[in-house]
């Protein structure tokens, strides 16, 4: 187990390095002079030169990269071009809204996905199965931003029950988290169904049935419990996709999170913020994947002892 952990952690080093090189190269791939971008369009040639020296952009690239890595490790991502405030502050105040949104979306996904998946598997080949799978493929194909607009139209504009957007009370959470979670719920439903069908073929399920265990207990105790291992893995992997989906959903509901910050920064060409956010998102995905791998090994003794 320990050797697996060490191996897996060591395997991350080149990946993290590759991401850092890519994010660092990002500014140099941009059309135009980075110093000019930072100094602003009205800056004189002298100002631009001053910015260049201040940011170390006149140094050779390898040295610049080392400086970049050093600054990143100290949590220094520079200043936002738009607000002229430290990027860390800008991201810091928007991080938690996105984390909460993703977590609540996952609750919807698991609740809806498991229910539809299990019902479809148990009633396999009959109309609840077809209904469930039609819902699932529709959920995968449904544009989440349109779903958001439809919900706003119904619950905010027409019924006036929920706020159209913003952040604060639990009412603010309902529509954004549901909108974000529905696509993943559809993926979970399909996955749960196939995991469940697989397990229904196992000997211990047949044995349970043969010795007269009630059907409900066979489903929820014997089958679901064993199907949980692949499902947990799936939940972990889908977190990354929820984070990605939050980028669009936050724009629909005026959610003050990092996703909307990213969209705004791209529109404004606020490169220090984009750079920091892309790095942050990337490290999150790498970390989530690592966590899933480790959990998977913990949950599955067969792999643990190999």
């Amino acid at each position: 187990m320990l050797s697996f952990l060490i191996k897996r952690l060591a395997g991350m080093i080149p990946v993290v390095l590759m991401v850092m090189v890519a994010v660092f190269a990002f500014v140099h791939l941009l059309p135009g002079d980075p110093a000019r971008l930072v100094a602003g369009p009205e800056a004189t040639a002298q100002d631009v030169a001053a910015v260049r020296t201040a940011l170390g952009l006149d140094k050779p690239l390898p040295q610049q990269f080392l400086t970049y890595v050093g600054n990143t490790l100290q949590g220094d991502f520079g200043m936002s071009l738009k607000t002229r405030r430290p990027v860390v502050e800008e991201i810091g105040m928007r991080l938690m809204p996105t984390v909460w949104l993703t977590l609540f979306a996952m609750v919807w996904s698991v609740a809806i996905g498991l229910l539809i998946g299990v019902v479809s598997a148990v009633k396999r080949g009959r109309w609840p199965d077809y209904g469930g799978m039609i819902l699932a493929v529709s959920g995968i194909s449904f544009p989440p931003f349109w779903l958001g607009l439809l919900l706003i139209n119904l619950f905010s504009v027409r019924l006036g029950w929920l706020p159209t957007g913003g952040y604060g009370t639990w009412q603010h959470f309902l529509m954004p988290s549901f909108t974000l979670g529905l696509g993943v719920a559809a993926v979970m439903a399909r996955f749960t169904r196939s995991a469940f069908i697989e397990i229904a073929r196992e000997d211990y399920v047949r044995t349970a049935r043969a010795k007269g265990v009630p059907e409900r207990s066979v489903i929820w105790r014997h089958s679901l419990r064993n199907a949980l291992i692949p499902i947990i893995t799936m939940v972990g992997l889908q977190f990354g996709f929820l984070l990605g989906g939050s980028i669009v959903i936050e724009s629909v509901f005026a959610w003050p999170g990092v996703g909307r910050l990213l969209v705004d920064s791209v529109s404004y060409r606020d490169y220090p913020v984009i750079q920091a956010l892309v790095l942050m998102f990337s490290l999150q995905f790498i970390f989530i994947n690592l966590l899933v791998d480790i959990l998977y090994v913990f949950a599955n003794p067969e792999i643990r002892y190999k």
Binding site: P14, V15, M18, V19, F26, L29, L30, P31, V137, S138, I140, S141, F142, P143, P144, F145, W146, L149, L150, I152, N153, V157, R158, S194, I197, E198, G240, F241, L243, G244, G245, I247, V248, S251, L262, V263, V266, S267, R269, Y271, I274, V278, F281, S282, F285, I286, N289
Partner: protein, 294 residues
């Protein structure tokens, strides 16, 4: 792997599995309906100038924000433009973005996958490591990073969306290549001194195609959805382009007043993506009936 690609190993009998595939595909009612719908849609996109009753970008300030009627089937928008006509022209954009981006991604991915699978060793590890990394990312984030470099616009959306199809196709092609590399006819070709490049192009590439076609359909759905999302948040097609995602974004301020502004573009995106996903499901089931039970 699929029955079709294993059967193509037997040179000269390639027709039979194709006929078998076709027979199984014709039994997929849902996929056939999806295919019919998509053919209609492609037809509408190609013949848009003849089918669309109005100019998609010409404002008509006399007929602003009208609901659906006999003159304007899907109503008009804030500039008095006919929404039905805009949706038909928008099909051109969405389908072109979908096809072009997935084609680019497939060419890049299949190329990389075959090279990785064929040569193995460090090339293989490098390509696969990068693919794993790309696959771990949600497509939209990669796309936004690319847009941040290239700038907003529909052409750049094509590149941005193409990139996240690359790892999917690379993995797929690599898997088939590893199998086909063991095939007798590849050994034979190598023994008589055929160049690696020719072996890859002539003997391995055709074997990867069945799987590629299935994924092609499914990726087009995802790509159209992502491109529409990018336009919706203002990073893709710019006004007055009749792109569906951009139309949704334009119409959102009129919700409750003129719902048809958001209803029809949303429906267009949903049905198109659903069509490609259902077609992809059908192709996959026809290609490999064993997968059906799952």
């Amino acid at each position: 792997m699929s029955t079709l690609s294993t059967n193509t190993d037997m040179v000269g009998k390639t027709r039979k599995p194709l006929a078998e595939f076709w027979r199984r595909f014709m039994r997929q009612k849902v996929a056939l309906v999806a295919l019919g719908f998509l053919i209609l849609l492609i037809g509408a996109a190609v013949f848009a100038p003849w089918i669309a009753p109005y100019d998609p970008t010409q404002p008509d300030y006399v007929n602003v924000l009208q609901g659906p009627s006999a003159q304007h089937w899907a109503g008009t928008d804030t500039y008095g433009r006919d929404i039905f006509s805009r949706i038909i022209w928008g099909a051109r954009i969405s389908l072109a973005v979908g096809f072009l981006s997935v084609t680019l991604g497939a060419i890049g991915g299949v190329g990389l996958g075959i090279i990785a699978g064929f040569y193995g060793r460090w090339i293989d590890s490098l390509v696969m490591r990068v693919c794993d990394l790309l696959l771990a990312f949600p497509g939209i984030l990669l796309a936004i990073a690319v847009i941040a470099i290239l700038g907003p616009g529909i052409t750049n959306v094509i590149y941005a969306v193409a990139i996240f199809s690359v790892p999917v196709f690379a993995r797929l092609a690599r898997g088939t290549t590893l199998q086909l590399k063991q095939a007798v006819y590849v050994d034979a070709a190598r023994a008589v001194g055929v160049a690696d490049r020719v072996i890859m192009l002539r003997h391995i590439l055709p074997g990867t195609l069945p799987n590629v076609i299935v994924y092609f359909s499914m990726r087009i759905g995802t790509s159209i959805l992502t491109a529409a999302a990018l336009s919706f948040i203002g990073l893709g097609a710019q006004p007055p382009s009749p792109e569906w995602g951009a139309m949704l974004a334009d119409g959102r301020t009129y919700m409750g007043v003129a719902d048809h502004l958001t209803l029809f573009p949303g429906l267009a995106i949903f049905l198109t993506v659903l069509g490609f996903n259902l077609l992809g499901d059908g192709l996959r089931d026809a290609l490999d009936p064993k997968l059906r039970s799952h």
